[in-house]
């Protein structure tokens, strides 16, 4: 075989070797296990800590509220929808959740032509202005009168 061909063959083999060596060290472990991505990424993404505690963890200590809530129109609501994030309170029950004000009610119940018709809507500008919602409504049982 002519020497120039041998040199070319050796060069090609060298390049292929460098490619496979580099690939061996650069491709992260678990890449390609499930597809063209790092399979460990699934675990990395899942290892983030949840922020919202979830209704189930509230009901562990407050089952009475669940019974109350289940009777009324607010049965679809999660506790944290109105009361705000409860993770700190779950970890340490002494840490109280903030008191709620009228803005939480208005946020959903203020009248708007864009809101669906099934939703009970009021206009805060003329619906018993000056009173607090809870004077006439029970948030956990909206069908009841206090």
């Amino acid at each position: 075989m002519p020497p120039q061909i041998i040199r070319l063959v050796l060069l090609t083999i060298g390049i292929v070797c460098v490619y496979f060596t580099a690939r061996f060290f650069l491709v992260p472990p678990s890449f390609g296990q499930y597809g063209h991505y790092r399979a460990n990424a699934l675990q990395d993404i899942a290892s983030r800590q949840p922020f919202w505690a979830g209704k189930a963890s509230c009901l562990e200590c407050h089952p009475d509220h669940a019974q109350k809530l289940a009777k009324g129109e607010h049965k679809t609501l999660s506790c944290e929808t109105c009361h705000g994030p409860g993770r700190a309170h779950v970890a340490n029950p002494a840490e109280k959740l903030p008191k709620l004000n009228i803005s939480m009610c208005v946020r959903c119940h203020q009248i708007s032509p864009s809101r669906p018709k099934w939703l009970h809507q009021i206009n805060i500008h003329n619906h018993y202005t000056g009173s607090v919602c809870t004077e006439c409504h029970v948030p956990h049982q909206p069908n009841e009168v206090p």
């Binding site: 990424a41 290892s47 922020f51």
Partner: protein, 268 residues
């Protein structure tokens, strides 16, 4: 010297080198397996992505536009200010001009701050409105996701359990995927310097919790479920069987998996 180099010793050394190279992948696999056993990862244990197929459905008729889902998502996932993994759009369609012979007038769409703080009062007088409604938007979990196809490094992918995820350690922040998504569901995160998008709250669903937006939505406009493990009286199955469902921009062939009920033709 010439005594030491002979055919036998050269062949022996070559065989050693080849054997070593062949043994390295096996050694690496063993090392990774051992590391997996002893590594302390905060990821939930015992979750098999092949045993689940998650799906969300959105009910337009139930969305009241309170914006609590957007707020919940931003807090859950540390979404930077001004960016959204999910957002709410308000559609206002006006009445047609008298005698114009049209079915509808103009369409106005707004989403101030993604609907995070709710929506301001409408400036269009009520008499002029033909109809108005809110539409929650998020990643459409496409089966043929264009965003994952354009990634040059394999940093974004369709996970086996139905979420479309981003490997933030591997993303080079080129932004191809942000442009590729026809639904505008991806953004460039200025804090992590990577692409960012809805993960279906992967860290929550792997722990048996609902995604933050589903948990917080007061009107059950967002329905979430596992197609492989339907629970008794499954809300997702019920939603699909009781509603006429459709998906956004089906003509693009991306096969979006997110189902909508009550869509208007103006919604894109």
């Amino acid at each position: 010297m010439s005594d030491n180099i002979n055919r036998r010793s050269v062949l022996k050394n070559l065989a050693g080198v080849v054997g070593g190279l062949l043994a390295m992948p096996a050694a690496r696999t063993c090392k990774a397996a051992v590391q997996n056993v002893f590594a302390v990862s905060p990821a939930p244990k015992g979750y098999d992505p092949f045993k689940h197929k998650w799906l969300m459905a959105l009910d337009v008729d139930k969305c009241i536009g309170c914006g609590l889902c957007v707020e919940a998502c931003c807090e859950e996932n540390d979404v930077p200010e001004g960016h959204f993994r999910t957002w709410i759009e308000r559609y206002v369609i006006t009445k047609p001009k008298a005698g114009s012979g049209e079915t509808r007038g103009e369409t106005f769409v707004d989403s101030p701050d993604g609907g995070k703080e709710g929506f301001p009062e409408l400036q269009i007088p009520k008499e002029d409105i033909l109809k108005s409604f809110f539409v929650p938007k998020m990643c459409n979990l496409c089966e043929k996701s264009p965003c994952t196809q354009v990634c040059p490094v394999g940093a974004t992918f369709d996970s086996p359990d139905g979420a479309v995820l981003i490997d933030k350690d591997y993303c080079i922040g080129c932004g191809f995927c942000v442009q590729a998504c026809p639904y505008g569901c991806r953004f460039f995160n200025p804090v992590t310097r990577t692409a960012d998008k809805c993960t279906l709250c992967y860290h929550r669903i792997t722990r048996g919790l609902k995604p933050a937006c589903v948990e917080i939505c007061p009107s059950q406009a967002r329905i979430f479920g596992d197609l492989k493990n339907p629970v008794p009286d499954d809300p997702l199955q019920k939603f699909i069987s009781t509603n006429k469902v459709e998906a956004l921009k089906q003509y693009l062939g991306t096969r979006p998996r997110i189902y909508y009920a009550g869509l208007d033709e103006e919604v894109r």
